[in-house]
Symmetry: C2
Subunit: 489 residues, 2 copies
């Protein structure tokens, strides 16, 4: 057996184990009895220990080096690039630190949930300070002389840097702020009434299939926070139901279907290999966002959805398609990122990006974080945060050590803007199809242009190949200006 074949056999087994660990996470959020939490922590810990030992195994490094000296074919080179990156990352972080971080963030997540429920940032600050301290240590181990924050970014978006993000946000901010001003100046209709749970779930199931989710290789369940989980032939999604807010259910479903279709759309030849997953968080989010927003919240698709909701729920007080389209895209004041409209969403991300960079750089202390958040929010949004759960405690990310993750949401939006421009050029009849609830041509194009490649190309390269040009913020901002300029009259 060649060194490359030997290496890939090991990696394949590791990928299979990683899928098992991921399914354990799915189970925990959907099926696990509540009394099993402590035992589950041990089970998950044991799986992570097995995976970590395989990642840092010196024999892996040796056979990797040997394979790198032999393989020349592009797919093999791409596999080796991913394995090299993963191996270097794993061996650079001292084992003690990795264990300490895993334990700490598990505890910190629980403390965050309690603090959020009590609106008590002070109760969370000590453990968060410890998380920041260890993440800075980890970043120092990884950075090799570069900046700490860039080293963390690399985990979620290989090739990205704070300098590039600064430029991106600098271009976005003024146009989004202007657009928000215009949008908040007009009235938006909103959905009212109760929408029964079974009806929402039935329509969710239909939406998943309309958007191309293969339910023979996946399933749709309920969870407190919607997510997508798994790769290859077992990619599961969740949604949630609020009787007062069916849009939450439907657009959570479509969003997660975007993530799931990316995983399901990857070339089957890459299954259970390093190339067999979405290449970065940003590209992943580009798929969920284009499904959810550019397609799912388009005027044409809203027309179709309006009909389906009338079929399912009768007259629900929205008089016509245009009013329904405005209700779906309603721009509104609010504190919560995950409830933000397309115009304001990236402003929420920018706030987090600047604060987390300052934390990691050591320019902002955890003790001062709540005040910094509230000041920044008032400056950016024009009204004061009313309580910590609507402010600094709203997101789980920092408690579990996800620093450098937030900007990938905006990158996803940016990539989605580029892809939508290319998609419209490639599918001239798109609007007419969307108006009939037909997503097949759009989703097949996305599969061919983006999804099937998995990890074959670097993040910006896969977008550039799909669009014929390197990704920039222009297409997203133009799209938002057109859509919301129109909606705001």
């Amino acid at each position: 057996m060649s060194a490359y074949d030997d290496l890939m056999a090991r990696e394949r087994e590791t990928q299979a184990l990683a899928q098992v660990a991921g399914r354990l996470g799915w189970d925990q959020e959907t099926m696990m009895p509540r009394g099993a939490a402590d035992q589950r922590a041990e089970e998950s810990g044991a799986m992570q220990a097995v995976l970590h030992a395989r990642r840092v195994d010196r024999a892996r490094g040796d056979v990797l080096a040997e394979a790198e000296g032999q393989a020349t074919e592009p797919v093999a080179r791409a596999q080796l690039r991913h394995i090299r990156r993963d191996y270097e990352r794993a061996v650079k972080v001292p084992g003690d630190l990795a264990v300490a971080l895993a334990r700490l963030t598990s505890r910190a997540q629980g403390q965050w949930a309690e603090a959020r429920a009590a609106d008590d940032y002070a109760a969370f600050a000590p453990v968060l300070a410890e998380v920041v301290r260890l993440k800075r240590e980890e970043a120092a181990a990884l950075s090799a002389g570069g900046t700490l924050y860039d080293a963390l970014l690399e985990d979620y978006e290989p090739g990205m840097s704070a300098a590039k993000l600064d430029a991106m946000f600098a271009e976005m901010r003024p146009r989004l702020v202007a657009l928000r001003g215009a949008a908040l100046a007009v009235e938006w209709p909103r959905l009212e009434g109760r929408f029964d749970r079974d009806g929402q779930l039935a329509l969710s199931q239909d939406l998943a299939q309309v958007f191309g989710y293969d339910l023979s290789r996946g399933r749709l369940d309920l969870a407190v926070h919607p997510f997508s989980s798994g790769s290859g032939d077992d990619v599961r999604i969740t949604t949630r139901v609020s009787e007062a807010d069916p849009f939450n259910c439907f657009y959570s479903t479509i969003h997660e279907v975007g993530h799931a279709c990316y995983e399901q759309g990857i070339d089957p030849a890459y299954r259970l290999t390093p190339l067999g997953q979405g290449v970065s968080m940003g590209v992943h989010e580009s798929q969920s966002r284009i499904y959810e927003n550019q397609l799912g919240r388009s005027r044409a698709f809203c027309g179709w959805l309006y009909g389906r909701m009338r079929d399912g729920f009768g007259d629900f007080g929205i008089a016509d398609e245009e009013t329904f389209y405005r209700a779906v895209n309603r721009v509104h004041r609010g504190y919560i990122r995950t409830e933000a409209d397309e115009v304001q969403y990236n402003l929420h991300v920018m706030l987090r990006y600047d604060l987390e960079r300052a934390l990691i750089a050591g320019d902002l202390s955890v003790a001062d974080l709540e005040a910094a958040w509230n000041d920044r929010f008032a400056a950016d949004f024009g009204y004061a945060v009313d309580r910590a759960s609507n402010g600094v405690l709203q997101d789980v990310h920092w408690s579990v050590g996800l620093f450098g993750y937030f900007p990938t949401y905006s990158l996803g939006n940016l990539y989605a803007g580029c892809l939508f421009e290319a998609l419209q050029a490639a599918v001239p009849g798109l609007d007419a199809q969307l108006a009939r609830g037909e997503l097949a041509e759009a989703t097949v194009w996305l599969r061919g242009a983006v999804q099937r490649h998995g990890g074959l190309f670097e993040p910006t390269e896969v977008i550039a190949r799909a669009c014929g040009a390197a990704p920039t913020a222009g297409p997203l901002l133009d799209y938002l200006d057109r859509k919301f300029g129109d909606l705001a009259g």
Copy 2:
């Protein structure tokens, strides 16, 4: 850290991984998308490879030997006894043989299912011959000069031997045959009509709780073949629903609840240790059987269940409690072990026991197995097998390499007979409680007498301690004579 503590830390992690592998099996039967089967085979294979490597790890053997020289306390000695048995078993079987058996039985199970659907034993015989060949090799590696079949028995019922089973079955057979003759001579009422699925599931959920299953540490789902899975704080069960046969659903549930309560009832101090699981298949089956039969099919409990079924399904054509009791315990002709009544069940087991012993001893060839089955069935039951799916192809066990497993079903019945005698002595008001649907005192007694010990005592020892005497077939046969003698007038 002492060698014992070091060893137990490793074992604990292995146990946690084994729980994960078990949960993967649960998922496969309940939740997995059908298109995920191939990928799942790789995932399960990777988990089994990890577990096997840990079991045969020489470092494990070294620290085990060191711990054996130090530990004196009874619980520690019991832990070491289990680890020693597991280690010896693992290292005795050559790695190549273990891998070949895992691959072969995975394939054989599929071929068995196809052959059963086609009623075509000849299509299954070649792969079964291969399974028998490898199981004989495995038994030879394990037997250390003893008989092959005894070596296989040891996997499911430590301390058991074919000689002991021969004596047990020799005592059982004449009394069961006589009882069957009497029972088949009278008329038995049977349930007719349709019983809606939701009503069956709701009552199943109630029955699970009535019998003491802790749903905060478990869950009840549907599966093609009912099973119980997991240990400690995450023990899940499944049942099935046939609209024509609600007894199948209810008694499958109660049976699996018996298994699950055993696992849930083990001393929490043993969680994720070798003592933290039911000690043998026979003792496990004693719990499922006493819940299902001695308790669940008693006249007193049937009276309560009759009322609950009338509440849930209205008048279903059974006029009174006594007729209902007779319908639940109906003795009838049939081919299928899993559908057999209490009188005939063990006769089905004896047939399999004798045939599989002959296969493993080399006295019966796989090519002759179907004819041998059919001859034996006609001799034992007095009528001819009409097709292979009602005969030699009805059970999955042999296809997956379970030789030596069948007799543990009868051992379970025998143990249940002993335990029921002791339980009646310990709980004088038992019948009055059962008539009110109150199982608490009975199940608490079983927990204290049997379940809490987990693997602390050897199988026959745990029964002897609970009953004050070594287990024999007498109590079961007396119980069956009384119950069915009465029913048959």
